[in-house]
Amino acid sequence: MRRIISVLLENEPGALSRVVGLFSQRNYNIETLTVAPTEDDTLSRLTVTTTGSDRVIEQITKQLNKLIEVVKLVDLTEGSHIERELMLIKLKASGSQRAEIKRTVDIFRGQIVDVTSTIYTVQLTGDSDKLDAFIQAVGSTGVLEVVRSGVSGIARGEKVLSL
């Protein structure tokens, strides 16, 4: 099953490589990984999406918790949560394609953020499935370049991940 694990990590050199190293060392899989400092500059927040059986996920969270620099973590997929990913996608857009693409972008609530006579660059946010669906909708032949940020997530309601 796919899981989103959110981690508060000491904002120190080497801490990230320890997390990444753990995944490869123990043969766990990383689908996406995002990391950035938080409002508290001693902490970074890292979000990793991974897949595995319940047993594997339990091991991943336990092993992560063992890392000295991991301060706290939560498996967001255990409760209701919001997940978002940002995508920038560069599409071939000329002639009659332009209107068609514009319509699709609107349906997906994306924005065209850069334009040339033959190209649209589109910005889209949503969960990963929505981004996948957009790529399908525009058809792979027109796609020149795709950049995805990886998943960020947060729990719904009162629940917070903080010290």
């Binding site: 080497g14 490589s17 047993r55 339990e58 091991q59 063992k66 991991v70 301060v71 010290l163």
Partner: protein
């Protein structure tokens, strides 16, 4: 406030930490530190002949004492030479601090002379590692390193020290922190009360219980509690290879150790049990054999300080995270209070069965008129040292024979590389023990393959006067490899025979020690006695043993725990 250079701060911190010996080898990046070492006499340094040996020495000391060992090496090759030793300590959860020189911080990343990314290289085999980023941090970093190494599930901690952190003429205020603050590291100090209560209820209700006790009992200093609980309940105890001595081998409730080369009775008892109380053990693959066939009828209570050890390979029915001594203590008081008692009829029937299994095999081996059997050698050493020696071993058949035939009644006496299986561990580990326990017998049981992996340390033994006894069970082969080739590769002995063995007697003498060769059965006991009587001499005993001997019992690969070879021809 006192002003000290980084190097002086480092040595002062070690003093304040209570470090008596450090094991190491100097080099460019560590020279400021070696100079600070020279200008004091509280912390003593042991100069080894290869950095790997420094780590095993610190390791041997830590295993015998429970106190972290300390290693000091230079950057680059000095640091990388420690890796096998660090990995060895990591696999067996041994507390240790490794101080590594590093090129100056201004040169890091430039492929400077003797630069290695030691933080990166050591990362997968340490509990934690840290770089010093400012000289004034040194006391705190050192305090943290020892704290992390020794608490929770222990392990090695590497501290990387760029040379400019130890510059002599840059001085800072020295203060050794009394306490360590780490918001993200809080090892459990007691187990969950509800889980402990539940586990005691299960213990009382069990009909065929077994206590499976691992290295955590030794590391967690819990053998007293374990023994008390086992005696109160009257239940059988089996130890892991790492847990040997955690429960007295001569106790009538001891079934010996379990797993690949464990006793018939232990493996049978595990397989047929209805309740396994796992204490500080980690269900290693050398114990469980095929996990899907493991203990089919048993419920499992698992106590461990490391939550990640629980339900990693075998699902626990009742997990208890906590220090084993504290958890066992609570269990003991609950058992005392409990109105329930173990069912005496069921327990009697279980012991009848256990005794039958014991009688069926009971660690027998065939003796020979021509050859000295390796098992006989170990039994003789056990008699001569009255079962009270520290025994270190290398890796191979000799290791298994030592573990099987030396009956350990105390913890911390059996010292071997169980997790990583590092050949070359035995001699330096024995040296670390002897240095710190000079009045005890310290024996290194080894093979002619393993001993040659750190033989250079005979020189260190001379320099520091470390009269260990080296028992080389010479079968003129990489015996354990050969045994697998006999059993699985139709005796094709690919590269398991080692020609051109040195004359170990002359070699020992060349290093200034005593060498004794034993190749006749009748000489075994008298010559061993002679050697052990030489209290102040290192004696290298080169003992020619039956080259065709195999270690039994041996579990059948991918079977259940009860599937074993008992000799070359008997399979159960």
């Amino acid at each position: 406030m006192e002003l000290l250079s980084g190097a002086d701060m480092l040595i002062r911190s070690l003093q304040d930490e209570g470090v008596e010996y450090i094991y190491g080898y100097p080099g460019g990046a560590a020279l400021h530190i070696y100079d600070a070492l020279f200008r004091q006499d509280k912390v003593k340094h042991i100069l080894v002949r290869h950095e790997q040996a420094a780590v095993h020495m610190a390791d041997g000391y830590a295993r015998a004492s429970g106190i972290p060992g300390t290693v000091l090496v230079t950057s680059g090759p000095g640091a990388t030479n420690t890796i096998t030793g660090i990995a060895t300590a990591f696999m067996d959860s041994i507390p240790m601090v490794i101080l590594c020189g590093q090129v100056a911080s201004t040169l890091i990343g430039e492929d400077a002379f003797q630069e290695t990314d030691m933080i990166g290289v050591s990362r997968p085999v340490v509990k934690h590692n840290m770089s010093v980023r400012h000289p004034s941090e040194i006391p705190e970093v050192i305090r943290k390193a020892y704290y992390i190494a020794a608490t929770g599930r222990p392990g090695p901690v590497v501290v990387d020290i760029p040379k400019d952190m130890t510059t002599p003429n840059e001085r800072y205020e020295y203060a050794f922190p009394k306490k360590v603050k780490l918001r993200s590291y809080n090892p459990a100090i007691r187990g969950h009360a509800g889980q402990i209560r539940k586990s005691v209820e299960m213990l009382m209700a069990a009909k065929r219980p077994i206590i499976y006790a691992g290295g955590g009992v030794v590391l967690g200093k819990a053998s007293k509690q374990l023994t008390e609980l086992a005696h109160m309940l009257g239940y059988p105890v089996t130890n892991t290879l790492m847990g040997i001595g955690g429960f007295p081998a001569s106790d009538k409730q001891s079934l010996g150790w379990l797993g690949m080369h464990g006793t018939y009775e232990s493996n049978m008892a595990m397989h047929h049990s209805d309740l396994v109380l796992a204490v500080g053990a980690r269900f290693d693959d050398r114990v469980t054999n095929a996990t899907e066939k493991f203990c089919p009828g048993a419920r499992i209570v698992h106590i461990d300080i490391d939550p990640a050890s629980i339900s990693k390979t075998i699902e626990a029915d009742v997990p208890i995270v906590g220090p084993v001594d504290a958890v066992l203590k609570e269990m003991i008081s609950l058992v005392k209070e409990s109105k329930e008692k173990p069912d005496p009829e069921a327990l009697k029937a279980w012991w009848k069965q256990l005794d039958e299994w014991r009688a069926f095999h009971g660690m027998r081996y065939e003796t020979s008129d021509t050859y000295i059997k390796p098992q006989e050698v170990i039994e003789a050493i056990w008699r001569i040292t009255k079962g009270d020696a520290y025994v270190t071993s290398d890796v191979g058949q000799h290791q298994m024979f030592a573990a099987q035939y030396y009956k350990f009644d105390k913890p911390n006496r059996w010292i071997n590389s169980g997790g990583l299986g590092t050949m070359g561990f035995g001699l330096p580990a024995a040296m670390g023990v002897k240095l710190n326990y000079p009045d005890s017998d310290v024996v290194c049981v080894t093979g002619e393959g393993s001993i040659q992996m750190n033989i250079q340390e005979l020189s260190t033994c001379k320099q520091y006067d470390l009269p260990v006894k080296i028992v080389n069970l010479n079968n003129q082969a990489l015996g354990m490899v050969k045994q697998w080739q006999d059993m699985n590769y139709e005796s094709r002995h690919s590269q398991s025979y080692m020609g051109s063995l040195p004359d170990f007697i002359k070699l020992a003498e060349a290093y200034g020690h005593v060498g004794i060769r034993i190749d006749k059965k009748e000489d075994l006991e008298p010559k061993l006695k002679e050697a052990f009587a030489m209290k102040d001499k290192l004696v290298f005993l080169d003992i020619y043993v039956d080259p065709s001997e195999h270690v039994y019992p041996m579990q059948v690969a991918r079977g259940s725990m009860k599937d074993m070879w008992l000799s070359k021809t008997e399979r159960v």
